[in-house]
Symmetry: D2
Subunit: 274 residues, 4 copies
C-alpha cells in the first residue's frame, strides 16, 4: 500500500467568458482511496463536481468571466491494488464479457482497432491469451515507439503513431489499446498522475479487462503500477483531457507534483487492478 501525494496547479488568463470542465480529481475506486483533498479556486469562483458520461469519473465544471483563473488541487491517495498471479487471468470469451464492458471492444476516434486486426493477430496471435498477451502488447509498444515530445498533436491517432513510431504517453496508451481491442481484449484509456513521469505532467496509460477485472499497464514504462493514481476513464484520450474549454483563455502555468510519502514499495511481480 502506497500513499501518494499530489499537487496540481493550473493558471489561466481568461480573455472571454469561458466554461471549463476539468478532469484532475483522483478517482474513487475499490483500490484507490482519497484520504485528503483540497480544491482551491479562490472565494469568487463557483464550481460543481459532476459525474462524466455514464459516471466513469468526476468533472470539475465552472464558468468564469475574463480575468485570471487559479486552480489548485491537492490530494493524498492510498493505492492498494489487488494483485493477482498473471497466469490466473484468462482472456474473457466474447459471450462472457460483461455488457457494460463491451463498448471497450469497439474502435474509437484515436484507437481504430478495426484497421489493425491482421497486424495484431500476426504479432500476438501466438502469445498465450490472457494477462500475458496484454503484457506482451504493452511491452511491444514500449520497445517499438520512441517517446518524443511534440511528435504528435491532438489529431494523432493510434494508426498515425504506429506508422511514425513516435509519440507521447497518450499515444503509447492509444496504440496498446488499439492492439488489444483488435485481438478481442477490452481496453480503456486512463488519465492520471504518476510518480516518475518525466517531465512531470498529467499522465496517460491504459487498463485491459482480463479475468474478472480491469488491470493496469503503463507502456511508457515511466511509472510502476503502484505509483499511479487514476483520474478519468474513457474509450480514448478524448474522454479524459485534463481540461476542456469553451470560450477563450490562455494557459499560463501548469505545475504538477507527485510524490510518495515514504519509501515506495517495489512493484509486485503480479498483475494489479485499478
Amino acid at each position: 500500500m502506497n500513499e501518494i501525494l499530489i499537487t496540481s496547479r493550473l493558471r489561466y488568463e481568461v480573455t472571454e467568458r469561458a466554461s471549463f470542465a476539468f478532469s484532475i480529481v483522483a478517482a474513487r475506486t475499490d483500490h484507490q482511496t482519497v484520504t485528503k483533498e483540497t480544491i482551491d479556486l479562490g472565494d469568487d469562483v463557483a464550481w460543481t463536481m459532476v459525474p462524466y458520461g455514464s459516471g466513469t469519473h468526476q468533472l470539475l465544471r465552472l464558468t468564469v468571466d475574463p480575468g485570471e483563473l487559479d486552480l489548485s488541487y491537492t490530494a493524498s491517495v492510498t493505492v492498494s491494488a489487488q494483485t493477482d498471479r498473471p497466469d490466473g487471468l484468462d482472456e474473457v470469451p466474447f459471450d462472457e464479457v460483461p455488457a457494460e464492458v463491451l463498448p471497450y471492444l469497439n474502435p474509437s476516434r484515436y484507437c481504430e482497432s478495426d484497421r489493425v486486426g491482421n497486424f495484431s493477430f500476426r504479432l500476438f496471435g501466438d502469445t498465450p491469451a490472457g494477462y500475458d498477451r496484454v503484457k506482451a502488447i504493452s511491452d511491444w509498444v514500449h520497445d517499438n515507439l520512441v517517446y518524443e515530445s511534440g511528435s504528435t498533436d491532438g489529431s494523432s491517432s493510434a494508426t498515425d503513431v504506429l506508422l511514425q513510431r513516435a509519440g507521447v504517453c497518450r499515444d503509447f496508451a492509444h496504440v496498446a489499446i488499439t492492439l488489444c481491442r483488435a485481438i478481442g481484449v477490452p481496453a480503456r484509456y486512463v488519465s492520471g498522475y504518476g510518480i516518475g513521469v518525466d517531465p512531470q505532467d498529467f499522465h496517460g496509460f491504459f487498463e485491459a479487462y482480463v479475468g474478472t477485472d480491469w488491470y493496469l499497464f503503463d507502456p511508457t514504462g515511466m511509472a510502476q503500477s503502484n505509483a499511479l493514481v487514476r483520474i478519468g476513464y474513457g474509450r480514448d484520450a478524448a474522454d479524459a483531457p485534463f481540461a476542456t474549454l469553451v470560450g477563450r483563455a490562455d494557459l499560463l502555468e501548469k505545475e504538477i507534483t507527485v510524490a510518495s510519502d515514504g519509501k515506495l514499495e517495489k512493484e509486485p511481480a503480479t498483475a494489479s487492478t485499478a
Copy 2:
C-alpha cells in the same frame, strides 16, 4: 400517435461455435412503447437480454454450436413523440450540457468532428443556433450526399464520406453527427426501423441534443420522424450494429418489414423527441 408493426428475421449457417450480440429489439423510451413483442429462436437456443454499455439499449446475446440459427423478432410499437416548436429549442451552452450528454460532443471512430471545425463553422456558423441549425445540417447532408449502396464499407468514416460525397444511411448519419459536434451540438447515432426505408433494411439516423432533450433527424429523408422506431444508441454505428459475431457463421437471410397498422399520420411540422 402511430402504431408500427415490425418483423425481422435473420438466418445464419453457423459453421463454428459462435457468440452473437444482436441490436434488433425496439428500445423502451418515454415516447416509444412496445405493446407486443416476440423473440423466437426455437426451443433449443438459450439467450439473454442485457443492457449495452451504460444501459443505452438492450442486447440479445446467445452462443450456439454449428448448425442453423433462425431468429424471428416481431413487435408492435407505439411512437408518441413529444413535439415542440422548433424555435423554442435553443442550443445548449457548454456549461449547461448535462454531464451524461458530454461524451456526445467528442469525436468518435466514424465521426472525427475534431477535423472539420472550420468546415462546419463556415457552412453553418451564421445559421441561428438551436434546432434550426441542426435541421440545416441534416438538410445539407441530404442535399450534398448521394445515396449509393456499396459506396462505403465498415471502415468508412464521416471524413471519407465528406470527400467522396456518397454513402448509405449510416454514413449520412455520421456526417451529420460530425458536423453537429464540430459546431458544439451534442449528437448521437441511432439505429432502428423505419417505414419507407428502401430497400427495407435496418436503418440508421441520428439525434441531436437541443433545448432539454434529444431530437430526431433522418438525413436520408427516407422516413418521416414519426415512422421511425429506435433500437440502439451510441457515439456512432460501432455502438449499435444489428449483429456482432465472434466465431464463424454466414448470414443466409435478412428480411425486415416495417408497416403502419393504419394510416400513418402526416409528419408534424414540429420537432420531435426520441
Copy 3:
C-alpha cells in the same frame, strides 16, 4: 510585358556535412525570359545546376562542410505571357491529351484526386468545360479556404485541407489541382515568386492544361498572373520545394523580395500561359 526583379537570400548554419538541392532559380520558358541573373555562394562553395527529373526545371546542387552557407540569388525576369480568350480554351478530351501531359491527370501524394471524384463533379460538373471550369475551381478554392499560416505542415494533403478548410499557398494549389484532376483536367504544381505575396516568401500556385497549353492560376488571389515568375513544376509541392537537404543545417535567414521595375501592367482579362 513586365520586368520583375527578384532577390532571394538563404543563410544556413550547417552543423554536419550537408547536401542541398535548391529550387530557387527562375525557369526558362517560351514566355518567361531571364535577362540578368546572379548566383552567389562565395568563392569556396562549388555548385552545379542540373535539370530535375524529366527536365521540368533546374536544381542548384551543392555539398558543404559545417559552417555558414550564404546563398544569394538575383534575377531580372521578363514575363510575356501569351494571352488568349478564355472561351476559346476547351477542355482536352482524354484521347487528345498529349502523352507527356498524362501524368498530371494522376493522383499524387498531396493531391489525392481519386478520392474526390463525386465531390468535384457535384460542384463543377455543370460548369462549361474548359478554361472557365478551371477558373471556377480556382475561385471556389479562394472563396472556401481560409489562408492561415501554421494551419498545415509538410504532411498535409488536399483532402486534409478540404476538411479543415484552411491552409497556405501550397495547400490552395493542391486543392485546386486535386479538383481539376478529379474532373479530368490535367493540372500541375508550380513554385515561384510573386509580386504581392504577403508575407513575401516563395509562392505556390498551379497550371491547368486547356486548349493546347498550360494556363496559370493563383487561387490565393495574392498575385496577378503577370506578376508571377515560375521556378519549378511538378505533380505537387514534393517536386519543387525551395530546398531539400540531407545532413544537418538550420535555416538562419530567408529573405525574398519581388518587385516590378516599373508600373505593373493591369492583369489582362484573358487567360495566360506559362
Copy 4:
C-alpha cells in the same frame, strides 16, 4: 538469358464511345529485347503507340465506338539482365543521385514515404546500406504481408497496407518502395509479366537505385528476377495501370499467359538490373 513468351488478351464490351490507354507492351531496355511482337485489334480499330510522361514506357492508345473490343498482344522477350555482386552495390549518397532519379525519392499517392521515416530507420537503420538493405526491405515485406485477393482496392496506399498487413502484388511493391524512399533509397514501381504469378495476371514489382543502376525486386516472391518482363515504370501503380479508360466499357475477359521457351535458368545469386 531467358526467352519469355507472353500472350495477353483483353476483351471489352464498349457501351459508350471510349478512349483507352493500355500499358501492356513489353518495354525496350538495355537488358530486355523484344524479338517478336504482334498487336491485334482487328482491322477496324486505329491505334497509336506513344511514350508516357517523360518517356518511361509506351502507351497503346485508341478510341472506339460502342461494340466489342478485342485486343491480343503476343511477344517473345529475351531478358539478359546484367548481374552484379550485391556487395558491390552501395547506396548512393544524396548528392550523387542523378537528377533524373531524384523524383523517385519523393512520396507519391500510394507511397507516403514521408509518414514512415522512423519506422523504416527503426527496422532497417542498422542493416548495411546498399543492395543488401533493399533486399532486407523486400524480404521483410514478403514475410510480414499476407497475399490476399480483394483485401485492397484502388485507393489503398502503402500506409493502409502496412496497417492491415494484407494486400496484392501492387501493395507489396508499394510498401517496399515506401520503406526504401523513407530511408533515402530511390525506388520505382514496375508493372510487367512474370512466370509463376498465380493466378496468372499482370504483375507489379519494384526497382531500387543502388550502385549506378536500377535493380529489380519482387517482394511477393512469386517470380524469380530473370522470369520477369517489364512493361511500365512509375512513381507508383498510378503511372502504369494495364488500362486507363474514359468512356464506358465492361471488361469481359482478361487472359494472360507467360512461359519460358525452354528450361528457365535458375535465378542467379546476384543482383540483377532492369
